[in-house]
Symmetry: C2
Subunit: 385 residues, 2 copies
């Protein structure tokens, strides 16, 4: 008998993989060596054809499913979609999740030692791009003996990585799953990111990124960044339905204490995040978002950027997502159609805004599940012949 829910992958253990081959980044800088922390769920089959890569979003990491201990209160961040019999079925797929370079959950990043100094990289960690991540993930695939992913899957910033895989390594994936993403940030998206960066870098506890040595963290900056972010992850309607104008004490207090429920909710979210996430990583993640624009080197022609992709695409968006609205997903779909590629698109009715991609909304799970089932069946049939 397991202590975990029946449909959970159960106890999982992260592994740290060390890479000694230098990685040249888009900035021109070189990481001489680096670690990637990963988790895997399920079994790689004999011909290594059933592997699925999960790419994480801004604040994500390698712990996508299952539990690290019996005491862990909550499972991995996408446990609702990954597990035995779930949408990404660990009885059929070998699932790989990693913490990206520049992250703050064990992979080489600002809070890990700079080999040149022995101290944390801090602000000296190079700016990394979606393309850099995909290159590092390709080295990870090599290490795991995976020549071709059955699918590369991601939501939000993770979806951008999936797209980049299809563009940069067309022969190394059969399916690309891009959920709640966009082909590039809008001006408004960049503007919100810049507010977050200013909040962090102008916090006196930031010390130009060298706060580790000071034994402090720029909590206020991170809290503000997360509060702004959180507003953009939720939909206006979702916030109204969940919090409305409800007052914590039932009446106006005529002071500056939080009195509307939404105020204390945001403060709580911001404060919790500020103790759990690294500020330098947050800055890097926002830059990776800002910089992603695969069409840029194709004269802003997204169809041209996608002209060499070989995989099939599954694109999903959510009606109330205003961070990356359905319109942004349809830009990808339209470009794929123009480039004569195979694409399945679904627009899910959901009140949850951008956060919907993390929520097991029945219709979403059904359509996404049907697509993943098709991938598993294809691969099982092909190799059964």
């Amino acid at each position: 008998m397991s202590e975990f829910p029946e449909d959970s992958i159960g106890l999982v253990t992260p592994q740290t993989l060390h890479f000694d081959t230098p990685l040249t980044l888009a900035s021109g800088r070189i990481l001489p060596h680096y670690d990637l922390v990963i988790e895997t769920y399920g079994q790689l089959n004999a011909d290594a054809s059933n592997a699925v890569l999960i790419c994480h979003a801004l604040s994500g990491h390698h712990h996508a499913a299952g539990y690290h201990s019996v005491d862990e209160r909550k499972p991995g961040w996408w446990d609702s979609a990954i597990g035995p019999g779930k949408v990404i079925d660990t009885e059929r797929f070998f699932v790989v999740a990693l913490n990206n370079l520049g992250g703050c959950h064990g992979s080489t990043g600002p809070n890990t030692p700079n080999p040149e100094t022995g101290k944390p990289y801090g602000p000296d960690f190079p700016i990394v791009t979606v393309l850099d991540w995909v290159h590092s993930q390709a080295h990870l695939a090599d290490r795991l003996g995976i020549t071709q992913w059955a699918a590369v899957v991601g939501g939000s910033l993770g979806g951008m990585q999936a797209m980049q895989w299809a563009i940069s390594y067309p022969e190394r994936l059969r399916h690309c799953v891009v959920i709640a993403a966009a082909p590039k940030l809008s001006t408004q998206n960049i503007a919100f990111n810049e507010v977050a960066r200013q909040a962090i870098t102008k916090d006196p506890q930031f010390y130009n990124g060298h706060y580790y040595e000071q034994g402090v963290v720029p909590k206020t900056g991170l809290m503000l960044a997360r509060m702004v972010g959180h507003i953009t992850y939720l939909s206006e309607d979702g916030m109204r339905d969940k919090f409305g104008r409800e007052l914590r004490s039932g009446k106006l207090s005529f002071d500056f204490n939080p009195q509307f429920e939404i105020e204390s909710y945001l403060q709580y979210q911001g404060e919790r995040f500020s103790s759990a996430f690294d500020a330098n990583t947050y800055l890097l993640m926002t830059k990776a978002l800002d910089y992603f624009d695969p069409a840029a080197e194709y004269d802003n022609n997204l169809a041209a950027a996608l002209s060499d992709v070989r995989c099939d695409f599954f694109i999903a968006s959510f009606t109330t997502d205003w961070r990356f609205s359905p319109e942004r997903s349809r830009e990808i779909v339209d470009a794929l159609i123009e480039a004569k590629k195979h694409v399945t698109y679904t627009e899910i009715q959901a009140a949850h805004g951008h956060d919907a991609f993390l929520i097991p909304i029945p219709r979403y799970m059904e359509v996404f599940g049907a697509y993943m089932n098709r991938i598993a069946a294809e691969q099982e049939n092909q190799y059964a012949r």
Copy 2:
């Protein structure tokens, strides 16, 4: 010959009016006496029937039109709409603009002396509401000998004051002009205000609101508040059209300096504002916004709240305004119709988002001008008979 543009009201001089009658606020606190700084444009006619009150928005003040000196680079904040021959025609109307209580441009507020201590009120200045402002404006009307305004006019938070006038003093205005406003803030609106408040109050230079004594201002907090605010004032499309993803130097810099045009624009706006506006006033203004909800005491029935109004209404909204979207204006229109009141409504095509209400968009100026012309003509005809 004037040094000012022909259609400008020209040189204007603010006046400070002192009020000795104690004002009881919605919070229960009492202001024993207070100053209001005002400007007036045009001439009050013999029967004081041509007066128009201009109510300002979050960061506004009494200087709505004309110039304070020949050296002033820019005229008052609504000079595009107020002046000889303009929409609010100073050859026909006597226009009154004031700085509201709690403001930072001369009226009694956090940066003016608390009579009890001789030091600036700072955080001890009471929270003021839209209703409090309207009461103070009614005392101002008494002082100026204006029994009934031809119109009370405002955009955004100013529009909320105009609505409150119609509800609280139904016999004291003939027309109510409510532009780019809402009957109450949405949860998302409150959430953005709370980010601004946290940014200001968590700035180490805020000193719990007593920064005046320290000779500093919470510049970072105010800058962040303004940056967030600014994003919500502009439309996503407007930002895209104006800034796109243009890079200042033409290429990515792979560092954290501002490189997209939108980044430097927002920083500039934020920094300029942080040297020009008082942080305690900003906090008060956001609270006045959050608290405005005239339907609350009518069981959330806006039509009931408006059942006793006697004036005619002109309501205007702008298509890309997502701070107070057209839908929010239509809630007011629908409630007025349900309450069987006279209402004219226009929804203006504009790319400028919420800021559109300050911009002389031809269609907007035409429709608004036609309404104001009707008011002037009515009043001139009535008194010509």
